[in-house]
Symmetry: C2
Subunit: 276 residues, 2 copies
């Protein structure tokens, strides 16, 4: 593991690191905020999964999470959203290929060898994190934005008992019924839609849900509402009696200005779940 940069931030350290990943078969870069407490003892870890086109850097510099994480003594990891590099397949579209991993393990050419973001987030990056930093493996929570909100919800439900709590900002809630989903699942997973179900938060709620609280924030003026389908998730949460809440935030859009506005609520929500 290589240190790219470390900056003091809210009494802790905002670092950027690079490591070779077995899951993706290429070097991966991630950001990690460690609060001051991590110098003394291991701290809980909040995962933040980013959306389409993002690298590890966007949320790390624009979401304002560090202030709140420092206040609650939490670490925050900011993974990249896909494998990258010259040897990695890509597509001219912003919503497929590099920057658009969708948190699945691709089974189809040309994506299969590198696009294994599920395994990267579930296994590979945790191994690096817990081996190198003062983090509590048994106290983790997860959040994310848009495609990363989809990732947070599906990984929280797919890896039961891994995360104490899950939240999301304007998540893709029902990708099997959205152009943000059908296109990518067809490309990465192939035409057999039965393989898609494990990657659709709305469908996962109907077959088990999440053993903990969920917090979803969605802007009412989001320019991508038709693709995000919050109504599908709201229906499934209520129909399955999933503990949690979905808040429709009047006038907010899909931007980091929206995320930063509610970042404090989400960190506090996770800190409370992690303190139990």
């Amino acid at each position: 593991m290589e240190t790219i940069s470390e900056n003091r931030c809210f009494g802790g350290v905002q670092g950027v690191y690079r490591h070779p990943s077995k899951a993706t078969g290429c070097d991966m870069t991630f950001g990690l905020f460690l609060p001051a407490e991590a110098a003394l003892h291991p701290v809980p870890l909040l995962w933040y999964l980013s959306g389409l086109t993002c690298t590890h850097e966007n949320a790390m510099t624009k979401a304002g999470l560090q202030a709140h994480a420092a206040a609650h003594g939490l670490a925050v990891v900011f993974p990249d959203t896909s494998p990258r590099g010259d040897g990695v397949a890509d597509d001219p579209a912003y919503d497929l290929g590099q920057g658009a991993g969708f948190y699945v393990n691709a089974t189809q050419a040309p994506w299969a060898p590198h696009f294994r973001m599920w395994d990267y987030i579930a296994d590979d990056l945790p191994r690096v994190l817990f081996a190198n930093f003062a983090l509590e493996e048994d106290r983790q929570a997860i959040t994310g934005h848009s495609m990363g909100g989809h990732g947070a919800l599906t990984m929280a439900m797919g890896l039961q008992d891994r995360f104490a709590s899950v939240s999301a900002f304007s998540p893709i809630t029902n990708p099997t019924a959205s152009d943000w989903g059908r296109k990518q699942f067809t490309a990465y997973l192939g035409p057999d839609e039965s393989t898609w179900r494990a990657h659709d938060a709305t469908l996962l709620l109907q077959t088990g849900g999440f053993d903990g609280e969920m917090l979803i924030d969605q802007g009412s003026a989001d320019q991508f509402l038709d693709l995000l389908r919050p109504e599908a998730l709201a229906h499934a949460m209520a129909a399955t009696r999933q503990p949690g809440l979905l808040r429709m935030q009047k006038g907010y859009d899909h931007s980091y200005f929206f995320i930063s506005t509610f970042a404090g609520d989400h960190v506090a929500f996770h800190a409370q779940a992690l303190s139990r």
Copy 2:
């Protein structure tokens, strides 16, 4: 004036606007955060002047000021750092020309026609702001980072009674004695160093100072300490009995991670001064 974008943010609006400027002879772009209160009545205005290479956008997306401004009911304006465009002179160096206006009125070719950032910040942009937004002209404060910290300090002292308070993050404190200053003042103002004095915060303290409180934050691990010369400002503040404080923040560098860490302190400092 043209609206480029408006995003809801912490209950208010983060806007970006473009307008033709008489001072700079070109179109100028600025960011403006208006808190929710501005929908009801005019609000106080905090100026944030940015550093070398920045546009209106960097601090607007990375400094995290909106959270604190919203809490205190303040507006924040994020001006650009220079004139821009195809017809505007430039230099290959990052620290001269576009992105490096240094908040002076250039008198030398090829800079003189457009590089009039002092007049832009002092006269032109205020006219646009107070004509178009619910802002209190008699309640203004100013802050900035690096070159923008220099701008904040020199404009606060040069425009007495304009600003209730001034603060700065890692400011260029003594540009007449720094390579961040001598090079630019020579280019913009010419070799007569007597014309430079009005643009050196340390020298201005010795000839009047600021009628109000100053707050300066400086990281002890700043990679540009030799250029910033905080010791010159500290000496001048103490020697002239200037009310205020300079805080040396252990381990912090020159980045937005530093700014965002102390942004809350600065906004609270200005809010207190503006409430008097």
